[in-house]
């Protein structure tokens, strides 16, 4: 909030320019659609609203659950990553590199078709949420590590010199300072996870994207189904990424 005012107020010129851009983009889209002579029928979307709501709920649930698992795995991964022992650091490095080096889609396929059947497990939602969590955990681990490392070494030294143990120095001095700095990137990570959760549709989870596909298949209303889908994702991600940007402004300047 202290730093909020800086980039908030737009000048009249900037507002006018932005309105012009929106008008141009909207007009171009409108023209393109008009030329197709497409007959809109939004009633199918309205009739389908309960399914969209259920899909939205599941998408949020899976993303939140995945993020929670990701935070736990990320915290552990980060602690391993800053360990004094090389072998321990290597375990964390392996996890981070394997997960970040492969597409989420491939990880989901492996989780659903290779891992889950061997475990005799047939709960796609749980598998999907766990896979999202493992995926997010690798990124969260790196965000947390960067947060810890952004705190100058003098803070740890001052804590140690006072007689605090390394764990106390982390818990009482470095951790709390790092936490404030990682809130914006963690919010950003959650926004990504919400979008990435759309991939869960391929393993038969009836989240938002899957619902839109079903509507499209049954009604053959491609535009209505998928434009609504995009709008619903935006409805979640846009406020969150604005929040992340706000937090970033608030926390970054030399704090």
């Amino acid at each position: 909030m202290r730093y909020g005012a800086r980039s908030q107020a737009l000048t009249g010129r900037q507002l006018a320019a932005r309105a012009a851009v929106l008008g141009l983009v909207g007009g171009a889209l409108w023209l393109a659609l008009a030329r197709m002579e497409y007959r809109w029928d939004w009633s199918v979307v309205w009739d389908y609203r309960a399914q969209f709501a259920a899909g939205l709920e599941l998408t949020l649930l899976l993303s939140l659950g995945g993020m929670a698992i990701g935070m736990a795995l990320g915290a552990v991964g980060c602690l391993l990553r800053v360990s004094q022992r090389d072998a321990v650091r290597f375990v964390a490095l392996l996890y981070v590199e394997l997960v970040r080096g492969t597409p989420l889609l491939v990880q989901l396929l492996i989780a659903y078709y290779c891992v889950a059947p061997r475990l005799g497990y047939d709960q796609p939602r749980i598998i999907g949420m766990a896979a999202l969590g493992v995926f997010a955990g690798a990124y969260v681990a790196e965000i947390l590590r960067a947060g810890l490392e952004s705190i100058e070494r003098g803070q740890t030294e001052a804590a140690l010199a006072l007689g605090l143990s390394r764990w106390q120095a982390l818990r009482l001095v470095v951790g709390p300072q790092a936490l404030r700095r990682v809130i914006p990137p963690l919010t950003g990570q959650f926004v990504s996870l919400v979008k990435d959760s759309s991939l869960l549709s391929i393993i038969a989870i009836a989240e938002l994207t899957k619902r839109a596909e079903l509507l499209q298949a049954s009604s053959l209303r491609v535009f209505e189904a998928y434009l609504t889908l995009a709008a619903l994702y935006l409805a979640i991600t846009f406020p969150l990424s604005r929040l992340a940007a706000r937090l970033e402004r608030r926390f970054t300047p030399g704090d």
Partner: protein, 263 residues
């Protein structure tokens, strides 16, 4: 008596049966190819005020950071309050707690108010109840002239105030020795005096102090013994009058001439 490192050891031994509070025995520290401290021998008696001087990069900071284990020795042995710490070993936290340290750049905890900066270690290391820790912290703040700043954030303080809080924070642990690593070097000139004044009072109270500084006036007035370092070695040491008025070593003479002409 002011000849070389072993002579410094002799000063401690001559004081009688009391064991030294700190002893460095043949301690070396390397950073890659650079030998920051080269086979240093030093003994510090209880109540002694030691000032370490020397050109920048001569290993002064590393020397005092070896005392509380912020740097771990590659060779030799550090003895702290009767406990021996071998090369490649860190002292246990309980031993560090007896050893207050003040840094050039303060390193106050920016997420804690001034009072909480002072009470953090007493509460979590000494297990003092909050009320008792706070009462003692307020006393210390008054002693460094900052009684009104208990509720302030570190970011709201001037450099001189920050350093006085840092001194109070170290004293809150009731250490047996205080280490000062260039405590006034990062301060605007007009704030140096207030910090030196607090240190002078501390010295008068009988605290054992090791001070790395470029403040020759302070060294002359407060030090029992001045140690001159150059290129990682303790070149010579002795009482300030002898060291400053009749420099026993040509390199000390050259160093003093340089800083005097800089003034």
């Amino acid at each position: 008596m002011t000849e070389a490192a072993p002579a410094a050891q002799g000063a401690g031994a001559g004081a009688g049966a009391a064991p030294p509070l700190v002893a460095l025995r043949g301690v070396s520290k390397r950073f890659g190819e650079v030998v920051a401290v080269d086979r240093a021998h030093l003994e510090i008696r209880r109540g002694e005020k030691l000032v370490v001087i020397g050109p920048s990069g001569s290993g002064k900071s590393t020397l005092i950071r070896l005392i509380n284990g912020l740097e771990v020795a590659d060779e030799g042995e550090v003895e702290l309050l009767g406990q021996r710490i071998h090369a490649h070993h860190e002292p246990p936290p309980s031993l560090r707690a007896e050893c207050g340290m003040v840094f050039q750049h303060f390193h106050l905890f920016p997420h804690l108010r001034v009072l909480d900066n002072l009470t953090l270690a007493p509460r979590h290391v000494r297990r003092l109840p909050r009320a008792e820790a706070e009462a003692r912290a307020r006393e210390l703040l008054a002693r460094v002239g900052l009684a009104g700043k208990a509720a302030a954030w570190p970011a709201e303080l001037s450099g001189g105030e920050k350093q006085r809080v840092a001194i109070a924070r170290a004293l809150a642990m009731q250490p047996q020795i205080m280490l000062f690593d260039e405590p006034t070097s990062a301060l605007d000139p007009e704030m140096v005096g207030e910090v030196l004044e607090v240190m002078r009072e501390l010295a008068q109270g009988g605290m054992t102090m090791v001070v790395v500084t470029h403040e020759m006036g302070f060294a002359r007035a407060v030090a029992d013994r001045v140690v001159f370092m150059d290129a990682g070695r303790i070149v010579c040491s002795g009482p300030p009058a002898a060291m400053f008025d009749r420099p026993p070593h040509p390199r000390l003479q050259a160093f003093l001439a340089r800083i005097l002409s800089a003034r």
